[in-house]
C-alpha cells in the first residue's frame, strides 16, 4: 500500500486512493468544487491544486493517485495565491445575487471566499449575461449566470440517474448548462442535482424563497417512503412560523450511507415530507352518527378501553408496515399476548408500486420486513375470512393503525363491510376516509416525532431519534399503548422506546445478530455530504 507524506504527516492508503482522499483521512481539508466522491473525476475547477515534490507544475489532488514516497504540500504561499486567483476567476463573472439566492448560507463560493479569498475585487469589466430562472422541470430551476460549470449536474444525469438530460452548450466563458431541447428534467432523482450543485445555479423549486438556510434546525432520520429506508436529514423551522406558512418541516436532504442510498434520495422521498404538517389530525375525536366532537385524551382513552373489554373474538386489529419495530412489538404484546385477541392483521396497501434498479422499491412501506420478523405476515386470505365475518355482523369493531381501509385494493374490506361494525377506532397521524368515519380517532405522531427503528428490505435495522415534538394534541403510539395498558391492567414493562429496542435485540430471535446500521453520517452542509469518502467502517460518529 502506498505510503505518502502530506504537509509533513505520513499516511498509508490503499492503492488507487486519490491525494484529496488521503488528505481527508489526515483531517487536511483541500478545497474543491467539481470533485464528488460519488461521481467520476472531472478536474475542471482547479481549486484543489497542490504541490507535489519533483513535479514542476501544481497538480490537482482529486485526480492524482497517491504513490509510494510522494511528498505533498497543501498549504504553501504559492498554493494560497493560486486558490485566491482561482476563486477570483470564478467570481469574475458571478452575479452578486446573494440577497435573492437560495444558496446563501450554504454556498461554496461564499464559504471559500471567506476562507481562501478575502481579496479586494479589481474587476472593472461588465459581467457576462446568461439565462436566469430557467425552469428545467417540475423540481429544479437553473440560473446560468451563477453556474461555475463544475459539471457535477451533467455527470449526475449521465452516471447516476442515467437519463442524460443535461449538457454544456457553447464554448469558453459563454458556456451554459443546457437541457436537451425536447425534454425536461423529470427523472425520479432530479432533486439530487440541487444537492450536488455547490452554488445557487440549480435550486429547488419546492424550497424556492421559502426560508433562509441559516434559520433551519435539523435532525437525522430515515425516510418512510419505501422499503429501502434512505437516510435523511429533516430540516425544520420552529422559530419563524411566518416562513413556510407555519409548517415545521421545510425540506429533506439525503444523508450519506454507503450501504443503503450512498449520497442520493429519490424525488418521492425528498418531497414527501408535507404530510408531517399538512392534513394532520390535531386532537382526539369522538363521533356518534354524523356528529364529531373533539374530546380530551383521558375520556376517550377510557372509552376505547371499555370497547376492548368486550369479547376479544369480536374485535379486529389492523396493523401497518409503517409502524416501527418497537410499536409493532408493543402492539403484539398488548393485543395478542395481553388481551388474547386472535384477529391481528397486517395490511400492505402500498406494496405494488414502481421499482427501479437503483433506490426505489415497489414496497412503499418502511417496515414490512420488520413486521414480518415480528410475526405479522401479510395474509390476504385471513383478511378475507375476517371481512366475511364482518359482513355477517359477527364483529363488533376494529382498531386501525394508520391505514386507510377504504382505499385498499384487493381486500374484501369495503364501505359496506365497515358499516356493519358497531364501532371503529382509528389511530394515525393524517386524515383519510377511514378516520373520517371512525367512532374514535386518536391522533398519533409521524415518524419524525418519535424514536424507533425500521427494518429495511435487506434486513438492515436503522434506528432513528425524535426530531420534532408531536404536533398539537397528537401522541406517540408508545404513549397510547402505555395508557391503554394501564387502564386494562396489562403489564407494560418499558420506560422508553430504547428499552423496547434493547429487549428486542436480546430476546427476539430474528433481531439477534442483525446488523444495526449507523444512520445519518452526513449533515445539513452539502460540503459534508460530498466530502471525500472514507469507507463506512472507518467512520466515527453517532451510534444510536
Amino acid at each position: 500500500m502506498p505510503k505518502l507524506m502530506i504537509d509533513g504527516r505520513e499516511i498509508e492508503v490503499p492503492k488507487g486512493t486519490r491525494v484529496i482522499e488521503a488528505a481527508k483521512r489526515l483531517g487536511i481539508e483541500i478545497p474543491y468544487y467539481c470533485y464528488h466522491p460519488g461521481l467520476t473525476v472531472a478536474g475542471n475547477c482547479r481549486m484543489c491544486l497542490v504541490e507535489i515534490e519533483k513535479m514542476p507544475r501544481l497538480q490537482i489532488a482529486c485526480h492524482m493517485e497517491a504513490q509510494d514516497g510522494m511528498v505533498v504540500r497543501t498549504d504553501t504561499e504559492k498554493i494560497r495565491q493560486t486558490r485566491k486567483h482561482v476563486l477570483e476567476f470564478l467570481l469574475s463573472n458571478h452575479p452578486v445575487d446573494c440577497p435573492v439566492c437560495d444558496q446563501a448560507g450554504e454556498c461554496w463560493l461564499q464559504d471559500y471566499y471567506m476562507k481562501h479569498g478575502l481579496y479586494a475585487s479589481r474587476l472593472a469589466e461588465d459581467k457576462i449575461k446568461k439565462h436566469k430562472a430557467v425552469v428545467l422541470g417540475p423540481t429544479v430551476i437553473l440560473d446560468s449566470e451563477r453556474c461555475i460549470l463544475c459539471s457535477r449536474c451533467v455527470r449526475f444525469t449521465d452516471e447516476i440517474s442515467k437519463t442524460h438530460e443535461l449538457g454544456i452548450v457553447n464554448r469558453g466563458d459563454h458556456s451554459e448548462i443546457t437541457i436537451d431541447p425536447n425534454r425536461a428534467l423529470e427523472n425520479a432523482y432530479s432533486g439530487n442535482v440541487v444537492d450536488v450543485c455547490p452554488v445557487g445555479a440549480l435550486t429547488d423549486r419546492d424550497f424556492r424563497f421559502k426560508i433562509r438556510a441559516w434559520y433551519l434546525s435539523s435532525g437525522n432520520s430515515v425516510c418512510s417512503g419505501c422499503a429501502r429506508g434512505c437516510n435523511i436529514q429533516v430540516q425544520y423551522n420552529l422559530d419563524r412560523p411566518h416562513h413556510g406558512k407555519g409548517a415545521r418541516v421545510m425540506r429533506v436532504k439525503p444523508c450519506f450511507n454507503a450501504d443503503i442510498n450512498q449520497w442520493w434520495i429519490c424525488d418521492e422521498g425528498r418531497y414527501g415530507y408535507k404530510f408531517h404538517d399538512q392534513n394532520r389530525i390535531l386532537q382526539p375525536v369522538s363521533r356518534s352518527g354524523q356528529t364529531a366532537r373533539e374530546v380530551a385524551w383521558e375520556g376517550v382513552l377510557s372509552e376505547v378501553a371499555q370497547k376492548l373489554g368486550g369479547s376479544r373474538e369480536k374485535i379486529g386489529i389492523f396493523v401497518s408496515p409503517q409502524l416501527t419495530n418497537e410499536e409493532l412489538f408493543l402492539i403484539r404484546g398488548f393485543f395478542k399476548e395481553g388481551l388474547k385477541c386472535p384477529n391481528l392483521f397486517l395490511l400492505s396497501p402500498k406494496s405494488e408500486g414502481r421499482q427501479d434498479d437503483f433506490l426505489i422499491r415497489a414496497d412503499k412501506n418502511p417496515n414490512s420486513k420488520g413486521a414480518e420478523l415480528l410475526g405479522f405476515p401479510y395474509d390476504p386470505k385471513a383478511i378475507s375470512t375476517f371481512a366475511s365475518k364482518c359482513s355477517l355482523g359477527a364483529v363488533d369493531g376494529v382498531i386501525v393503525f394508520g391505514q386507510d381501509l377504504l382505499s385498499l385494493k384487493n381486500t374484501s374490506l369495503d364501505k359496506s363491510v365497515l358499516e356493519k361494525l358497531k364501532w371503529s377506532v382509528f389511530i394515525g397521524s393524517n386524515h383519510n376516509a377511514t378516520s373520517d368515519r371512525a367512532s374514535v380517532v386518536l391522533p398519533s405522531a409521524t415518524y419524525v416525532e418519535k424514536e424507533g427503528s425500521f427494518t429495511n428490505f435487506e434486513g438492515r435495522i436503522q434506528r432513528f431519534k425524535k426530531v420534532l415534538e408531536p404536533l398539537a394534541g397528537s401522541r406517540t403510539e408508545f404513549e397510547i399503548l402505555r395508557a391503554l395498558s394501564g387502564l386494562l391492567k396489562i403489564a407494560f414493562r418499558y420506560q422508553t422506546t430504547e428499552d423496547v429496542f434493547t429487549h428486542l435485540q436480546a430476546h427476539e430471535k430474528p433481531f439477534q445478530g442483525l446488523p444495526c446500521v449507523q444512520i445519518g453520517m452526513g449533515g445539513t452542509d452539502i460540503r459534508v455530504l460530498a466530502e471525500p469518502v472514507i469507507p463506512a467502517i472507518e467512520q466515527k460518529g453517532d451510534i444510536l
Binding site: C45, R46, T82, H85, S92, L149, G172, D173
Partner: protein
C-alpha cells in the same frame, strides 16, 4: 539547398500516385518492411532526431517507444491535421500538393507501431485539402498501398478521414480524441497519456502530418543523413510558414536551426514597403514575441526554448513599425478567449477577463493598474490548466507586456496609439 517536401508545392498541382511512384515513391515504405523490424525502425527514427513538428517538438522515436504493445487492445495512429495555431499553414500545403508523402509516412509509422487503422483528423475549414487527401487515399488503395496485405507483406492498414467542425481546441491532442469519438472537444486529464490510453481507450500514436511526411526520406536516405541536415538533437528540415509584413510570405522548407534573420531577409525578401522590422512571433501565436533586436537566433526547438520562447509550429509572423502592439495583443487574446473550450476555470474566465480588459484599453479607457493586473492574471492562467491553451495564451501575453511595456503604458495614458500610418481599424469585443 535541396527541397524534400516542398519540392512538390507547385501552385495548382497535386502530385499523383503515378508520378510519385515513377520517382521512387512508396519504395521507402515497401523497403521498411524488409529492412527493419518494428523496434529497429523506431530506433532509426530516434537516431534521425526527428522532432514533432505540430508544435510541441517531442522526439518522435521516443513518443513511439512509449506505446505498450501488450495490452490486448489495438494500437491506433491519429494524424493531427487540425492546424489551428494562427500563423501556420504548412500542413494545408502537404495535403493539397503532396498527400502521397503523408500516406507513405503513415504506412511507415503504422508498421513501426503495429497499427492497422489510422485516423486523419482534418480541420473542417480545409475543404480542398480534404478532397485531395481522400482522392489520394483512393489512389493508394487501388495500388494496394493501403487495404489488406499491403505490398504483399501480410500487413493490413487503412485510413479513415474525419473532418473537424471549427474549434482550435480540437487541435489539442486529447481534445482531438474526444472530437474524433463524437463528443465535445474537451481535453482530457493527463495521465493517462494517449500513448497508453488514447482513442477509444486504446494505445494511440498522435503525429503531425509534416512529421510523418519526413519519414520516407529518413528511411530511404538514412537517419544519420537526416539528422545532419539540422542541428544537434533537432534533426532534418522543417516547413516555416512565414506571414506578415514581408515581401514574399509563404512556406519555406529550411534546415532546423536556420537563423531567423536569414528567414526574414534572405528567403522572405525582407520587410515590404521599405519599412523597419518591429517584432516577430517565431512559432505560432502561443510563442512569446521577439523584438527586432532579438532575431539573431537559431530556429530550432532547443535554441528558442533557451531564449524563453518556442519553435512551436514554425509559424513566423513578422510585424513592421506600423503595427500597434496593443492592437496585436488584443487580437491575440481575443483569439484565445474565443477558442477556450471553457472546461477549466483559469482559462475560461481568465482569457475572457484579459480579453475584456484589453477591449477597454483599446477603447481608450485603460487604467494604470491594468498592465500589472494583466501580468498577475496571466501568471495564474499558466501552469494551472488542464491543457496547454492556457499556457499558450498566458505566455503570448507576457511576451507582449514584458517586451513592449512602454507602448502599453503610453496607450493607456493617451487613450490611443500614436502610429501615424495607423494599424488597420480593429473591431473590438468578442
Amino acid at each position: 539547398m535541396e527541397k524534400l517536401i516542398s519540392k512538390y508545392f507547385i501552385p495548382g498541382k497535386t502530385l499523383s500516385v503515378g508520378d510519385y511512384v515513377r520517382e521512387g515513391g512508396y519504395e521507402a515504405a515497401r523497403g521498411a518492411f524488409t529492412r527493419f523490424d518494428p523496434p529497429a525502425l523506431i530506433a532509426e527514427v530516434s537516431k534521425a532526431n526527428l522532432r514533432g513538428l505540430g508544435g510541441a517538438g517531442f522526439p518522435t522515436g521516443k513518443k513511439w517507444s512509449f506505446v505498450p504493445q501488450n495490452t490486448g487492445k489495438p494500437v491506433y495512429l491519429v494524424v493531427n491535421v487540425d492546424e489551428g495555431e494562427p500563423g501556420t499553414f504548412k500542413d494545408k500545403y502537404i495535403l493539397r500538393h503532396a498527400p502521397h508523402l503523408l500516406i507513405e509516412g503513415i504506412i511507415i509509422a503504422a508498421y513501426a507501431n503495429n497499427i492497422h487503422t489510422a485516423y486523419v483528423y482534418v480541420r473542417g475549414e480545409y475543404t480542398e485539402p480534404y478532397r485531395k487527401l481522400t482522392q489520394a487515399i483512393e489512389e493508394a488503395r487501388e495500388k494496394n498501398f493501403l487495404g489488406k496485405n499491403i505490398f504483399g507483406k501480410g500487413f493490413d492498414l487503412d485510413i479513415v478521414v474525419h473532418r473537424g467542425a471549427g474549434a482550435y481546441i480540437c487541435g489539442e491532442e486529447t481534445g482531438l480524441l474526444e472530437s474524433l469519438e463524437g463528443k465535445k472537444g474537451f481535453p482530457r486529464l493527463k495521465p493517462p497519456f494517449p500513448a497508453v490510453s488514447g482513442v477509444f481507450g486504446c494505445p494511440t500514436v498522435i503525429n503531425n502530418p509534416e512529421t510523418l511526411s519526413y519519414l520516407p526520406f529518413i528511411i530511404s536516405r538514412g537517419a544519420e543523413w537526416f539528422a545532419k541536415l539540422g542541428m544537434e538533437r533537432n534533426g532534418g528540415m522543417r516547413l516555416f510558414s512565414v506571414s506578415g509584413h514581408v515581401k514574399r510570405p509563404g512556406v519555406y522548407e529550411l534546415p532546423m536551426g536556420t537563423p531567423l534573420r536569414e528567414i526574414i531577409y534572405d528567403h522572405a525578401g525582407g520587410i515590404r514597403d521599405g519599412k523597419k522590422l518591429k517584432a516577430v512571433v517565431p512559432g505560432g501565436l502561443s510563442a512569446p514575441i521577439l523584438t527586432a533586436e532579438e532575431i539573431d537566433i537559431k530556429m530550432d526547438f532547443d535554441s528558442l526554448a533557451a531564449k524563453g520562447t518556442m519553435a512551436g509550429s514554425g509559424g513566423v509572423m513578422v510585424m513592421d513599425e506600423s503595427t500597434c502592439m496593443v492592437h496585436a495583443l488584443h487580437a491575440t487574446m481575443r483569439f484565445f478567449a474565443h477558442e477556450s473550450c471553457g472546461q477549466c476555470t483559469p482559462c475560461r474566465e481568465g482569457t475572457g477577463w484579459v480579453n475584456r480588459i484589453l477591449d477597454r484599453v483599446m477603447r481608450g479607457r485603460g487604467r494604470k493598474a491594468d498592465i500589472d493586473n494583466l501580468i498577475d492574471i496571466g501568471s495564474f492562467i499558466a501552469g494551472t490548466t488542464i491543457c496547454a491553451l492556457g499556457d499558450g495564451a498566458s505566455m503570448a501575453m507576457m511576451g507582449y507586456l514584458k517586451k513592449f511595456r512602454p507602448e502599453f503604458e503610453a496607450y493607456i495614458r493617451d487613450g490611443k496609439c500614436d502610429l501615424k500610418d495607423g494599424s488597420v481599424p480593429h473591431p473590438v469585443s468578442v
